[in-house]
Subunit: 98 residues, 2 copies
DNA sequence: AAGTTAACTTTGTTATACAAAGTTCTTTAA
DNA sequence: TTAAAGAACTTTGTATAACAAAGTTAACTT
């Protein structure tokens, strides 16, 4: 059994790690905010969001703020749970003694 | 400027993160030990090792133990430095407040 | 001489990441 | 009432990365 067994592949990429990290301390964030925080193209952001959505790690709420369309992203219960597990696995990994 | 700016892409993959992690607490480890710890094929391990070697993050020492060939891998000064930077960046990322 | 093990390298395939361009919907300006 | 613009995508195409499996080399062991 590998020392990597509890490392979640979905969170293995910096962009998805970044998205989940900021969604831990923010109830929800919109597309543009995420895009600016991560400094990536909108297409690229959309695809990473989709990967997290596919796993039910984040959820989407569409609305209008004033008269502008606005999409808010937030972590699901599952997403929060799995992300915390991943962080615990990371901690164990970087403190490992063989 | 992105919240990911200090995240090192070389350490972005779980296998390379795993290799560096175990090399932090072990002066050196050999190929077979790494292979067992990570539970990956030897070809795959060799290519991840190569990626770290290319960046001068790990160094190789070939010798014989008794009469068996043995290759020991260890972190370079640069590797240790950059890995610690990466871990600090990770900590900041997962504790980020916007 | 034949088999074994360590540590690779090579080959080929699949998956992932990414930019850039195109799309849809809606508002705001001329 | 047409035009421009912005948000949030989707599509397309390309480049890179990851991976398994098979092949290779050098040395030992039997």
């Amino acid at each position: 059994m590998s020392i990597l067994k509890n490392i979640n592949k979905v969170f293995d990429h910096r962009v998805r790690l970044g998205i989940m990290s900021v969604l831990m301390t923010n109830d929800s964030l919109d597309f543009i905010t995420l895009k600016k925080l991560l400094d990536i193209t909108d297409g690229n952001l959309a695809s990473h969001i989709k990967a997290l959505e596919k796993e039910n790690y984040i959820k989407i709420r569409k609305s209008f703020i004033g008269r502008k369309p606005n999409t808010q992203y937030s972590s699901t219960h599952l997403g929060t749970l799995e992300f915390k597990k991943h962080l615990t696995a990371l901690e164990h990994l970087i403190n490992i003694k063989i």
